[in-house]
């Protein structure tokens, strides 16, 4: 019998899945399928199937159930294992049958089972349950009484509200907070129905009652919002309160209560508040998105205590316009670090092309600190039109202006500025100055690319070996055959340090990989006949990276290159690079070479991991048998549980 039932349950579930995955059907077809589904599910609930097999059918009746399912579900409300499942359906099934069943259950159940039923009645907002719920307010089980109070609040209406208010004073401590919450919920219903008088009365009752602080705060908020503009005095009272919690709800409500008169009242309050509260109210004002706030913010940015000014200056980013630029510039130059930082940030972020134009027009005649600030601002705002003015300042006598200008070139400079920056580098004295100009030069090279190569080449012919090395770094950034030729020449430089730098540059030739095959040839030559071990190693690494990244070489060619190079790959670091190449080529040759490399204990696990990655992909390059055999080897020999598990997982999927 049990077997039969299980078979039946499985069948029913299959039907359910099938219904769930039907292709687009008409509403009528869906309805017919739902009815059939409901009948199947009801049959499961009425069968002797174990609770486990009735759980999901209960859930599905939430979707497909009707009044017909209620008699099958109702007894389960008293079943400690299945009640929570049955409630999922009962709460969702529309119509009076489910309401009645829940009300009936409310009269019979106790404890958690009863609470569940009450909670579902609350969700369904069954007004006929109100008398029963009012009785439950007096239940000796505090959790039941609490649930009833919330349910009455959710349902709302005068009888519920009256019962809750009447029970407020006498409610036990463990229930009073929920009774208050119920009152607040009722007040919300009244307010939604346009009955603000009743709502205010309820809110006022709670905010003056002996209930938890949080309930009082909610009532204060509700009382202010329900009063509209008449709520301004109560709102101001909170902002001035010594109680931080009340200040908090005041600040929150100040953002919610609508009306220009409210904004104006709050703006007037700003200067009456203690200094430490002013920024908080200003932020709330800004959040009101009311145009009348701007004059208040601008005034606060110019005058007032420093925290208020800083806050106001910050707010201008969002609220301000080009008209605010003079005031904020003035604040930035007052000499106070906090004000300067805030003002600079605002001027960097204040949106608008008119703001760009306003800053640019001031830059030309500006001197001293103002010039330095304006250079920093136009750079941060990426105003390319400022470059001529900036370049005039890279040799300024004032170190601050000079530094700002060089930093601006680092951010904005293009090919047109390259020659000047090279000249600056040649003239720079001292390691810091040279480092700063080098940074600018490399940034310009990165943006300009080969367009600035002609300006850079003089560096490669400099008598100063340090400049030749900077030139090499720039060559790597610029890229292309001409730059590569210059680096190749540097391999024969008279200075060892320059030769070393040239090798390093080649080994990480970044920009034109993998197209620049010429670099690969040079690297291969270094690998075979480099004069220093370090040159051979760097050559080998660079070449392996070339092979790995090359889009021109086919997989088979990559494997051949690695195979040819294998005798020279002696260190684990380079073997790992080779493994990375082989691990990207799904072929039996690659697999074979990987197995060879696995013999080196230093890289065995890396090889096994690469094999798993290789064999996970479904590719023509490797037959299922080859993949299977390789994976078996990994399972057998790998000491890494993660690799082993991945291998096992891949093996399972292969079968």
């Amino acid at each position: 019998m049990i077997l039969k039932t299980r078979y039946f349950v499985c069948f029913a579930l299959l039907v359910a899945i099938a219904i769930g995955s039907l292709s687009p059907a008409t509403a009528a077809e869906r309805s017919a399928a739902s009815r059939a589904k409901e009948r199947e599910l009801i049959a499961v609930l009425r069968s002797d199937a174990p609770p486990k097999d009735k759980a999901i059918p209960c859930k599905q009746l939430a979707i497909y159930g009707t009044a017909e399912a209620v008699p099958a579900l109702a007894p389960l409300l008293a079943d400690k294992d299945l009640a929570s499942w049955a409630l999922i359906a009962m709460e969702a099934i529309p119509g009076p049958a489910a309401d009645k069943a829940l009300r009936d259950a409310m009269g019979e159940l106790q404890g958690r089972l009863l609470i569940g039923v009450i909670n579902s009645i609350a969700v369904r907002r069954d007004t006929q349950a109100v008398p029963g719920l009012i009785k439950k307010l007096e239940a000796s089980d505090a959790q039941v009484a609490s649930a009833a109070a919330i349910a009455l609040g959710r349902i709302g209406g005068q009888p519920a509200a009256q019962a809750l208010v009447e029970s407020l004073d006498d409610a036990p401590a463990g229930v009073r907070s929920e009774v208050a919450e119920g009152c607040i919920l009722c007040a919300e219903h009244f307010l939604a129905q346009g009955n603000s008088t009743k709502a205010i009365k309820l809110y006022d009752t709670i905010r003056q009652a002996d209930v938890s602080t949080q309930r009082v705060l909610e009532a204060i908020r509700g009382a202010i919002l329900a009063r509209g503009s008449d709520g301004i005095p109560l709102l101001i009272e909170q902002l001035e309160s010594k109680d931080r919690a009340k200040l908090g709800i005041g600040l929150r409500t100040a953002r919610e209560l609508p009306g220009t008169d409210v904004t104006q009242a709050l703006a007037a309050e700003l200067n009456r508040l203690p200094v430490n509260r002013q920024p908080l109210l200003l932020l709330a004002l800004a959040d009101r998105k009311d145009a009348v706030v701007l004059p208040t913010v601008l005034k606060a940015a110019k005058n007032g205590a420093k925290p208020l000014r800083i806050t106001a200056i910050g707010l201008l980013i969002h609220l301000g316009s080009v008209s605010c630029v003079p005031a904020v510039l003035e604040a930035a130059l007052e000499g106070d670090a906090g004000l300067t930082a805030a003002a600079q940030e605002t001027l960097e972020r204040l949106p608008g092309k008119d703001v760009d134009a306003a800053l640019l027009s001031r830059l030309g005649p500006a001197k001293g600190k103002q010039r330095q600030l304006l250079i920093e601002l136009v750079a941060e705002r990426r105003i390319e039109a400022a470059l001529p003015a900036i370049m005039e300042s890279v040799t300024d006598k004032d170190a601050g202006i000079r530094g700002a200008a060089l930093q601006a070139v680092t951010i904005l400079g293009e090919a047109d500025q390259a020659a000047m920056v090279v000249k600056l580098l040649q003239e720079a004295r001292g390691s810091k100055a040279r480092a700063d100009v080098t940074r600018a030069l490399l940034a310009v090279a990165g943006r300009a690319g080969t367009a600035c190569l002609a300006d850079l080449l003089p560096l490669m012919k400099s008598d100063d070996s340090n400049l030749r090395m900077v030139g090499l770094r720039a060559m790597a950034i610029v890229g292309g055959p001409d730059a590569l030729a210059a680096v190749k020449t540097a391999l024969k430089d008279k200075k060892e340090a320059v030769k070393d730098e040239a090798v390093r540059t080649l080994s990480t030739w970044p920009n034109n990989w993998p197209e620049d095959a010429e670099a690969a040839k040079i690297l291969l030559t270094l690998t075979e006949s480099g004069k220093k071990t370090s040159h051979k190693v760097l050559g080998l690494r660079g070449y392996l990276q070339y092979v790995r990244g090359s889009k021109k070489l086919r997989g088979k060619e990559k494997v051949t290159r690695i195979h040819e190079l294998l005798p020279q790959i002696k260190r684990a670091e380079e073997k790992r690079l080779a493994i990375a190449v082989l691990g990207s080529v799904p072929s039996s040759e690659a697999l074979e070479l990987l197995m060879t490399l696995a013999k080196d204990r230093a890289v065995t696990e890396e090889v096994y991991s690469a094999i798993v990655n290789l064999t996970r992909r479904d590719s023509r390059g490797l037959s299922k048998d080859q993949r299977r055999e390789a994976l078996k080897t990994v399972v057998e020999k790998s000491k890494n549980n993660g690799t082993k598990n991945r291998a096992l997982d891949t093996l399972r999927k292969l079968r």
Binding site: G20, S84, R349
Partner: protein, 426 residues
């Protein structure tokens, strides 16, 4: 989880956002002095924090909180003894004392008057219920995502935080990261032309019901409080596998699936880009492996199960009439023209939560709305839930965001909510 060791302060974020030109995407700057955190923070100015359900993800977020000088973490609640112990050790090591209290029942920690805010990082089964309990107890809440199990929970969560005036931050920290902010900036300021299509990658699209597994021997309550672990989920016997909260009741009990896991992030970013933080798409239709949704403003949202970007996890793509931009968790960009990326700002890969946590803490002090407040989270979650419902029913559904109802679709409407197991309620 990766944070790449990035612990940047708020000013650095603002600087980054400035470079990104992300005006409306960046928060207001509030001076430290106004928030009582310049220099040494007086004990009276500290935000006293408690935690509920602090597992792997929770520990990372908690570490971000512990980095902040104006936070004092005082207690942890977890149904698992091993996690209570390890989080206590983490906090005690930070403060050099033994003061971190431990709780099994969240109602006990929530009853503490000295706690201002809670970090909730339980599994998704508990998120909305625990956050609601915390709000009712007068706590501000940083809650991991997905924040709700269904449409009804999303709405009630927003309603509760509105009514209580408590601060809520959903753990959708990409709202506070400059690369996403910059892409949103491009979409919202017209740099891409009129917006046409948004792409989100909520990998793992698909639905399944959370069921009743074969029973395992139930551990003592002190080791694992199974009843509390189940919480609002329908009863079933103890089963070891279900203790993995990551999978238990994932994204919704009735039709849970992976959509909420990633959608609460990437769909949320699309909502932000589309300037639809206060509404949801009106049409949802499964198309092959994808889910296509459409907003009332005509913008299409493509939720993709398949990856298409080499830009790390959680990628998004915004397509306008004249341009497009893509970004993801590696903080790189692709765009229709490099000019769009001229002010993209600093790259901060690895989706760190530092900025998001700081935003929450500042809002606790200012009482402003956080970047991922309950209202914002409500609507982005509703889009994911509605998509899930379309996937479950395997057909197109039409949604009315004003009424929060599916149009002429009783089955879909019934999937909007699910009864909670007593004594829990929202």
């Amino acid at each position: 989880m990766s944070k790449d060791g990035v612990h940047l302060n708020r000013r650095r974020f603002l600087k980054t956002a400035a470079q990104a030109g992300a005006c409306f995407a960046a928060p207001y700057f509030v001076p430290s002095s106004a928030l009582g955190r310049d220099g040494a923070v007086a004990p009276s100015e500290r935000i006293v924090l408690g935690g509920i359900g602090i597992g792997n993800r929770g520990r990372y977020v908690l570490s971000c909180f512990l980095e902040e000088s104006d936070v004092q973490f005082v207690g942890v609640c977890d149904v698992r003894a091993d996690r209570r112990k390890s989080v206590k050790e983490m906090a005690d090591a930070k403060y050099g004392n033994k003061d971190c209290a431990t709780y099994i029942d969240m109602r006990e920690i929530l009853a503490r008057d000295d706690i201002d805010a809670m970090l909730i990082a339980t599994g998704p089964n508990w998120h909305a219920t625990a956050a609601t309990l915390a709000a009712h107890a007068g706590k501000d809440v940083y809650c991991e995502k997905p924040c709700s199990k269904n449409i009804s929970q999303s709405l009630l969560l927003a309603e509760t935080f509105r009514r209580t005036g408590r601060v809520f931050q959903a753990g959708t920290q990409r709202r506070s990261l400059p690369n996403f902010a910059y892409a949103v900036e491009l979409a919202r300021n017209g740099r891409l032309g009129p917006l046409e299509t948004l792409h989100a990658h909520p990998g793992g699209l698909g639905t399944k019901m959370s069921g009743w597994e074969a029973p395992d021997p139930e551990p003592p309550r002190e080791t694992v409080d199974w009843d509390m672990y189940l919480g609002p989920a329908a009863w079933r016997p103890y089963n070891r596998k279900l203790m993995n909260a990551f999978h238990f009741e994932k994204g919704g009990g009735l039709v849970g699936g992976g959509c909420l896991e990633w959608g609460s992030h990437c769909v949320d970013i699309c909502q932000w880009a589309n300037n639809t933080d206060d509404t949801a798409a009106v049409e949802y239709e499964p198309v092959g492996d994808q889910l296509h949704a459409r907003y009332a403003n005509g913008v299409k949202l493509v939720m993709r199960n398949d990856g298409w970007l080499p830009l790390g996890s959680c990628p998004v793509r915004f397509e306008g009439k004249t341009g497009w931009v893509e970004t993801g968790d590696n903080a790189e960009f692709e765009a229709s023209t490099p000019k769009l990326l001229a002010r993209r700002g600093k790259k901060i890969p690895g989706y760190p939560a530092d900025f998001h946590v700081r935003d929450f803490l500042d809002c606790v002090k200012t009482r402003a709305l956080t970047r991922a407040n309950a209202e914002v989270a409500c609507w982005s979650h509703i889009v994911c839930h509605a998509a899930n419902i379309a996937l479950y029913l395997d057909r197109k559904v039409m949604f009315d965001p004003k009424k929060c109802e599916f149009i002429g679709d009783d089955e879909a409407n019934r999937l909007r909510s699910e009864a909670l197991r007593a004594p829990w309620r929202l």
